[in-house]
Amino acid sequence: MDDLLDITLPALHRGRTRVLASCQLRFAAGEVVALIGPNGAGKSTLLQAIAGLAPEPVQLTRGGRAVARAEIGFLPQAFAVRAALSVLDCVLLGRREALGLRVPPHLIAEAEAMLNRLGLSDLADRAMHDLSGGQQQRALIAQRLFRRPTLLLLDEPTSALDLHHQLETMALLRAHAAATRAPVLAALHDLSLVARYADRVLVLADGRIEADGPPEAVLTPDRLALHWRIAPEVLRARDGKSVIVPHLMATNMQG
């Protein structure tokens, strides 16, 4: 599973509007890549296209082999689940194709272990619609990880999580990528999380991949000012990772 994963994307459209120019992406085994960009840049569109949920056909290959849509794990941005399925049921559905009339005990045990990793074992028998937004989000992340995808796509996976669980989830994603050698591509808004946990950053802006590189090279004050219209302070935490402190630009405040 250490081959490079290549993605060939045609130009992506929403209606008649072109959202993203055609491009090629390449991910190394176990790489955690952050996808960032201002609102409306097309991050969700890009992720949906890679997941095979857009009209435009996307080619994914790994080691010369085509990657099937079923091998991709995708967590969309809108995640509310209103069914009475239990959390354990929900996680097991991540491997729906392996379930039969009688669910194999080893799958149940694996699902339970996955819930333990995300600190959700106490919620295993609770109905999904009884959970808070953050709990649901973590349960759905557990489901996608349980699926053991060749490529994991996440659209704002920490949007509903408190600070502790944001850090825990990102750390878990890094550990998962390292253990399974499956790349992770996650759309994120929190640039400090990006700086801390991403191996590489893709900046989506002006209808194209405007930048592609390690966080320290991509998250520069000039680029952030240009695309996010903020005046950032880029500080260093005690572990050497960047911390982005955003400030509104003076011209924004006059608007």
Binding site: R69, F74, L75, V81, A84, D89, G94, P105, E112
Partner: protein, 350 residues
């Protein structure tokens, strides 16, 4: 000392056992109610006489008893079981693919279409050049009209996609079309013909015979294995369309398959009995209360619940009226309202 947590496998098996027992109890209740339905009727025959008629067979010496048992009560019971099961299954499918707990097999206009077909047969059967006996013409045209409604909704889905909103809007349009056509025919009909049309629309098991049982039963048996292949896919759809699609499910294809199966089950049910409301709406909720959202047990539970509701309505209709039994469609309509209110008031989630 804190207790060790029970492993998920053990809890899972325990839950499956509880749900299995619940379905078994429901099936036993259905068996008991079916027996009660057999021995209940306006003829006043004793259970002993009925037992002897059953043992003697359709050609038994007591012709009256044989006729009542083999040509009236037993086909009506079988029809009730098949129609109830079909409507229960169709109802659960509708509520799953439309993600709407208030959907029913009639949401997409199938009932109105069947009523139009029946009215057409009753009013102008002599004008329809089909080599069918009169008693078969009405169900044939009701069935054909239901499939026509299916085709109309299908065409809209092909053109605009299978999103729940699209299907429901198309179904509403089809329903109003056939309802207005049916109303026009009722307006034009003579009083005698109008009475026949209205009686058909009540929904009744009185029209049951072995041909009807064979046709409806065959349709149900054909649909069952088709449903079996999509048990987990249907359960996945309960997560919501976005998540089901993200897990690799072809949601549009699943909706089309479920839609066609629902149309077949509904057509097979209403063509011979007329419109029997609320069974397809309430049975899925009973099933969910028994076994939750897992369609592996949910589908058989919905079938059993649908049959239970219909046979209970049949028994009630016979017991409430001395002489001719009250049509089951009227009983389910009256009893369905408080049951629907109970569903609405107890709703948690979707």
């Amino acid at each position: 000392m804190t207790a060790r947590p029970v492993p998920a496998v053990v809890r899972w098996r325990a839950r499956a056992a509880r749900q299995g027992v619940a379905v078994l109890i429901a099936a036993l209740a259905l068996a008991v109610l079916a027996l009660f339905d057999l021995i209940t009727g306006p003829s006043g025959m004793t259970p002993g006489a009925l037992w002897h008629a059953a043992l003697a067979g359709p050609e038994g010496a007591d012709r009256a008893a044989a006729t009542i048992f083999w040509q009236i009560r037993l086909p009506q019971l079988c029809m009730g079981l098949i129609v109830g099961a079909s409507l229960g299954l169709a109802g659960l499918l509708m509520q799953t693919i439309l993600a709407n707990p208030l959907a029913s097999p009639f949401t997409l206009g199938f009932s109105a279409a069947a009523g139009f077909g029946a009215a057409l047969a009753i009013m102008g059967g002599a004008l329809v050049p089909l080599p069918l006996p009169g008693w078969l013409l009405t169900p044939f045209l009701a069935f054909t009209a239901t499939l026509t409604a299916t085709a109309l909704v299908w065409l809209v889905a092909r053109a605009r996609g299978t999103a729940p909103e699209t299907l429901v809007l198309a179904g509403i349009a089809v329903m109003f079309f056939f309802q207005s056509a049916q109303s026009l025919m009722q307006f034009m009909a003579s009083p005698e013909v109008l009475a026949q049309i209205v009686f058909w629309l009540f929904g009744s098991l009185l029209k049951a015979n072995w041909v009807a049982v064979s046709v409806s039963g065959t349709i149900l048996l054909v649909c069952l294995p088709l449903l079996a292949r999509d048990l987990w896919a249907l359960t996945s759809l309960r997560l919501g369309e976005a998540h089901a699609a993200a897990l690799g499910l072809d949601v549009a294809a699943l909706r089309r398959r479920a839609f066609l199966i629902t149309a077949l089950l509904t057509a097979g049910a209403v063509s011979f009995t007329g419109t029997i409301g609320f069974v397809g709406l309430i049975a899925p909720h009973v099933a969910r209360a028994l076994v939750g959202e897992d369609h592996r047990l949910g589908l058989p539970a919905a079938a059993i619940a649908g049959a239970l509701i219909l046979i209970a309505a049949s028994v009630t209709g016979k017991m409430l009226s001395q002489g001719a039994a009250i049509p089951v469609g009227i009983v389910t309509a009256v009893a369905g309202v408080p049951m629907l209110l109970a569903v609405i008031l107890s709703r948690k989630g979707v």
